[in-house]
Assembly symmetry: C2
Homo-oligomer: 99 residues x 2
């Protein structure tokens, strides 16, 4: 039953004690709505490290809350994922300003 | 930044064309609320196989929609995960009837 995964894996490691599950899940459904054909999987990882909120594509950090001092905007996050995973993809009308 | 994962991985492979993302995400947040300390990660996998809805713990099938002919009840799913991952864990008042 195992499906061999050839598309990239995105992971969100979040701090459960900070109650960041729901926003992580929300980002997951946003990403899987936009990138269903482009991502192999999105994994949610409850972190044992307090305050951790790190989004990775494979082994590369895409966004780290500690480094950035904030959470990503969803538009920004989708642009980061697109640029990394499928740079030719248009994100539609929300993609006009690459702020 | 990579965290070494020692707890088991649960995965939900779902058919995006059947619009099963939202129920998969809902099950994910239910499982990660209950098993934040017990699961290493929950991965959502958009399947390329039409009609696929398969929940696995590591490489073992926990629930397969095609085999069962239905989706799991959330209580049933939590009992299956508990029995597999942390059999000593109580699921509280929802755990009285192991139907």
């Amino acid at each position: 039953m195992t499906t061999i995964r050839t598309k990239p894996r995105l992971s969100i490691e979040y701090c459960p004690k900070c109650n960041w599950l729901m926003r992580s899940v929300w980002m997951t459904q946003e990403l899987l709505t936009t990138f269903a054909d482009d991502l192999g999987e999105v994994a949610l990882i409850p972190s044992e490290i307090a305050g951790r909120f790190t989004i990775m594509v494979e082994d590369e950090v895409l966004f780290d809350r500690k480094k950035e001092g904030r959470f990503p905007e969803i538009k920004e996050l989708k642009q980061l994922v697109r640029d990394k995973v499928c740079p030719e993809k248009s994100l539609g009308h929300s993609d006009k300003n690459k702020s």
